[in-house]
């Protein structure tokens, strides 16, 4: 390695470290804005978030979906520990189902309920053909609904 190449390498590594530190500082300070949704536990821990527009995500609690009319729905979102009741008026996405992931956008009310104006179905990382699901259900290994 010539001395010129060596000095370039050192300068390069130094500037790399500086840029890394800068990016880490930015990401660390922006983390509240980077997350797309809060979980029920995070919201319940922060009562000062009440009255704000935000997104809430988690699994739709089993047996919690009720509809008043064809377009007004009540359901709960859970993260396993806590759950928050959601009211939504509109059309639910096709993949919306109990025990499946969901992200809702709306207002976290002062009484602890969530009034959603948008519901997004969140897909998980599992892919399988319908036959495999049937086999899993038969053998009792099925984890889903």
């Amino acid at each position: 390695m010539t001395s010129l190449v060596k000095s370039r390498l050192i300068k390069f590594l130094l500037s790399l470290i500086i840029v890394l530190i800068a990016v880490l500082i930015i990401i660390f300070n922006l983390r509240d804005n980077i997350i797309y949704f809060y979980g029920p536990t995070e919201l319940l821990k922060n009562p000062d978030k009440q009255g704000q527009i935000m997104r809430l995500g988690g699994l739709v609690s089993v047996d919690s979906v009720q509809n008043e009319t064809d377009s007004i729905f009540y359901f709960s979102i859970t993260d396993g520990d806590n759950e928050i009741e959601v009211k939504y008026e509109g059309i639910l996405p096709n993949l919306f189902a109990e025990d499946k992931g969901v992200v809702v956008e709306g207002v976290y009310m002062n009484d602890g309920r969530f009034i959603a104006n948008k519901v997004l179905a969140k897909h998980d990382e599992n892919y399988m053909p319908p036959e495999v699901m049937e086999t899993l259900k038969k053998s009792g290994k099925w984890q889903g609904e």
Binding site: V5, R8, L9, F12, L16, V19, L20, V23, I27, R31, I34, I35, Y36, F37, Y38, G39, G57, P93, N94, L95, A97, K100, V103, V119, L120, A121, K122, H123, D124, E125, N126, Y127, M128, P129, P130, E131, V132, M133
Partner: protein, 233 residues
């Protein structure tokens, strides 16, 4: 480590070109056949999950191509061997196409699955930034007429932009995102059924061949461009 490209190398690349184009087309057709006809639909998503077979390889190669691009720029910066600069400029366009493909196919998948075309979550936003980084790299080099300076500035941009790659990769683990976490590149067994891994593997091979074929064509073009720039000065 000074590697020099001579006319024999270029002739070799040139003669391999038709075979590479044939291989790419062949594997793409087989891959598409398996994706569309020889694989089952997903138990909840139905047929729309077939978009995954083009979306996932595109996204992988968008990240991989950028890593090679940034790696070549680092090597060029340190050694100043012009070959690394040529490599970086050869693959930038293909990488941009892969990024655009993954953004478009992801959007088409998002509408029936999530209910929206686009959300500003960490994964989608960082992927859009990657697309802008590719464009900026390509345009910066073209816009600056002093090519020595152009190479330095665009390489610096590519290297600094590399910080985006781990952010894209781990965004789904670090933050809450609407995008699902990785199904394959994780420590436990892949959470995709084997019958779906075959078309995914074939499409990945097809995208890899596409990357190699287009990059080698670009490689020759960049060399010619360099020669023309040298003679016009």
């Amino acid at each position: 480590m000074y590697i020099k490209i001579n006319n024999n190398h270029i002739e070799l690349i040139k003669s391999a070109n038709p075979y590479l184009i044939f291989a790419t087309t062949f594997v793409f057709i087989i891959g598409l056949y398996y994706s569309l006809f020889q694989s089952p639909p997903d138990y909840i998503q139905g047929d729309s999950m077939r978009i995954m077979y083009i979306h996932v390889p595109s996204a992988w190669f968008a990240l991989m191509t950028y890593s090679i691009l940034a790696g070549s720029c680092v090597l060029w910066f340190i050694t100043r061997n012009p070959l690394f600069n040529v490599v970086a400029r050869s693959i930038a366009q293909v990488g941009m196409v892969f990024t655009l493909m993954s953004l478009i196919t992801g959007s088409i998948w998002g509408k029936p699955t999530w209910g929206v075309w686009w959300v500003w979550d960490a994964r989608l936003t960082s992927m859009l930034i990657l697309f802008f980084l590719y464009i900026a790299y390509i345009f910066l080099w073209q816009a600056i007429s002093n090519k020595e300076l152009a190479s330095k500035i665009s390489a610096a941009l590519a290297i600094i932009g590399f910080i985006n790659i781990p952010i894209i990769k781990f965004s789904v683990d670090w933050w809450n995102t609407l995008h699902q976490p990785a199904s394959i590149s994780k420590l436990s067994a892949p959470s995709i059924d084997v019958s779906m891994l075959i078309p995914l593997f074939l499409m990945t091979a097809a995208c890899f061949l596409f990357l190699v074929t287009v990059s080698l064509i670009r490689f020759r073009l960049v060399l010619i461009e360099n020669k023309m720039l040298r003679t016009s000065n």
